[in-house]
Symmetry: C2
DNA sequence: GTACATTTGTTCGTATGTATT
DNA sequence: TAATACATACGAACAAATGTA
């Protein structure tokens, strides 16, 4: 079951799937720490590179958040503030640049919603804390 | 001006900024190929690891798209189909899982828009080809 | 159709730096 | 201070996909 290095599926993807399942199944709860890189290396008998790539996949999916010196935690789901679209307004979703990520304090794997008001103004909203309504 | 390995800014971020600028300034046009990893390595005197991380940053931002055996191209901006939100509908933006990425044929760095209709149905729309309207 | 060159992907090894506990 | 944990960076080797001669 665990991980088959001879599979055609890359090791890091197999590991990402396993961890993804641990999280989405609820066996790992929000805010809880994933095993450390070193632990994953020994537990699954894979290289550190594979571990880091697997965790990077989860980060890009917005599933976890990594803090240096601490570890990787399951991201908590927060309440979403409604943003109302009026007639003539439009909204698109896109990924922020690294600089926008810092500016708006966004985790990796979190998109932004760009609202263009009919009047012309543009608003940026954090994708994980926003819900568009009509 | 190029890249300073002794800077406190990581090499791969400096390189990502340079490439980001090449693209957003228009000096690199859509569909055009970035220099190959090997070329970037020799051109900027950095390791392949730094080059790959820099390109990974651009991919995560949805700025470029990498094809194995070919190279990395600047992503083209495509037309967006409008999706109308009616009263009682809500929409959120999030990153897709790897499996959804395949299912909906999404590039890396492209979010999905999840529309929940008042009636209860859920629709998934590609973030780079969709525009929400009221 | 084959063979080869090019390009990105995967994996391992090694070393050093930085943040937190 | 020391231990733990993640980040950055270089090098190396081989695999896999693509395009071309």
């Amino acid at each position: 079951m665990a991980i088959d290095p001879r599979s055609d599926r890359p090791v890091y993807r197999q590991l990402a799937d396993l961890l993804h399942d641990e999280i989405s199944s609820g066996r790992m709860s929000p805010d809880s720490l994933l095993p450390s890189e070193a632990q994953l290396v020994t537990e699954y008998r894979v290289g550190r590179e594979a571990v880091r790539q697997a965790v990077a996949v989860l980060r890009a999916e917005g599933l976890v958040r990594t803090e240096r010196g601490i570890g990787t935690r399951v991201r908590r789901v927060v309440d979403r503030a409604p943003v109302r679209l009026r007639r003539g307004d439009t909204a698109v979703a896109r990924m922020p640049s690294i600089h926008e990520r810092r500016e708006y304090d966004l985790d990796e794997g979190v998109p932004v919603i760009e609202v263009r008001r009919a009047a012309g103004e543009v608003e940026i909203h954090a994708g994980d804390r926003t819900e568009i309504t009509s």
